[in-house]
């Protein structure tokens, strides 16, 4: 490399105005994509959840205030320690779902004897954007702020 070229390369180091435009464009793109992806969905943190069996609320967990047992016939607390609450929801006969509530703010179904196990495969609830539904047992876990009609219909 000739001395002149080395001088040239050295002179080119650092930011040029045109470089800044490129960086700004990339940053803008990232921000826009981020907003598009995240602003359109309801990801407000989970304030609490209600567990329904048929249409009855049988249990409520408020991540601020803790649990409220609303119908003991359906709900059995298996364990309740610093980090988690584990519940057995008895939905009739020998039917049950095991629900695990993480006190940091999430809930999932870890086990069920409904055969289909859609509820176990449903990702854990971390925000108010979804529900966990066990259709054979008519058991539903619904976030406090869940929009009953968010305009999405699945068939």
């Amino acid at each position: 490399m000739s001395l002149k070229k080395i001088e040239q390369v050295k002179a080119d180091k650092g930011f040029k105005l045109s470089d800044l435009f490129v960086y700004a464009a990339i940053v803008t793109l990232v921000v826009v994509l981020f907003i598009v992806i995240f602003a359109t969905r309801d990801d407000s943190p989970l304030k609490g959840i209600r567990i329904y069996v048929k249409n009855e609320i049988v249990y409520e967990y408020d991540f601020g205030d803790g649990q409220r047992m609303l119908n003991g016939n359906y709900t059995e607390v298996i364990s309740n320690d610093e980090k988690t609450v584990v519940l057995k929801i008895n939905t009739g006969g020998n039917d049950y779902n095991i629900v695990q509530i993480d006190k940091e703010g999430s809930v999932k179904v870890t086990e069920a004897n409904c055969g289909k196990n859609d509820c176990v495969y449903t990702p854990e609830l971390k925000n108010s954007g979804g529900v966990i539904y066990c259709s054979p047992h008519r058991m539903k876990i619904v976030p406090f702020d869940y929009a009953l009609d968010d305009g999405n219909i699945i068939i």
Binding site: K54, N55, D118, Y121, T122, P123, S135, R138, A147, L148, D149, G151, N152, I153, I154, I155
Partner: protein, 397 residues
Amino acid sequence: MKKLFLAFAVIFSFAAIFAGCVEKEDNKPEYEIYTNMSEGSYELLLDNYKVAGAVASETTVPDSGGAAENPSAYKSMGRTFYYIMTADATIVVSEDFTDENAAEAKCEEFIGSVKDKLEEVNASLSIGVEHSAVSLFNAADAGEVIEIDETAYEVFTLAEQMYKFTDGYYNPAVYYSVEAYGFNTNGGVPESAAQLPADGTIEKFKQLSSHFGDILIYEDEGKYYVKKPAATVEIDGTVYSMKIDLGGIGKGYTVDLVNAMLDESGFKYGYFDFGSSSIVCKTHFKMGAYELGFKNPRGSYFGEQFLKTKIKNECVSTSADDVKYYEIDGVRYCHVIDPMTGKPVNKGIMSATVIGGTAAEGDALTTALMAMGKDNALKFIETKLTDRRVVFTYDNN
């Protein structure tokens, strides 16, 4: 030298990742979509689904107008009713809650009236209710005349119309086949080929169901009657007369009733979903049109969708082979029976959806499309369903 090595390492790892992706793609089975929806009126959500055939039609996708002027004042109320014709039904309505007490009372009253209507329809059509019109028909002797209620009369009439309209591909008299393959019973499904019903048995059940068109439905002095066909079949010394299940079309019929109730009570916003097989979508208070997602019949997780479109003030019905099914020796046996064979449908159509028209028609049409097979279904859509949006998925393998 070091740099060159590094460059090669980077190129190789990219190549490996790329190859990995390509291989993964190849392993994913490819499914085809056939639709008469115009390009641009729907969105494809999965890359292993390809639109293979577009059928010309004049259907349009609804615009997003009609939302409430003050959506922030709106609240939704809803309720699910269980075990209605062996399915669950959900009503959701949205109202302006500025006057909270009045709005709540209005919604509550409406939801109550939906409950009453569902109970009424269930009492008339459910095969699980001992004295329902359908149960009385099933228990009657061949050739016998049975008095039925008005609801049953209407649904019997609709079923007969749809049987004719679909050239027999919709046939509610495949009852014995449904049972023989282990559906609608408490006995469980077959677990091996030996437990499947014999071909001879299925052939006889098929013959019996082919007499569905012989049912006589009539009104006399304000009362309603059906005459059961005289045809019977004998299998191993037992004589069978026709049995029917109007659960499918009955759900659609109920959706149409609730749709009319929503209009009469002045509810513009909300929906009514019966067993996820028929739904009426009114307008969404915030978005105008609803986003309608189509469930992937080969979904890797619950609720995965392969396509979406918009729907407003319309009914939608769907049938799919993944609702109730089992597999034996790699063959899928689902609860939708092909009336032409008496066996579960196996012509490659995995799901069929119809948007538009009445839900009762939609329910019968989607079942019929599943049984038709690809070529007949395409012809049928092109000639008879030009005013509805239709989508079906097809497994080429």
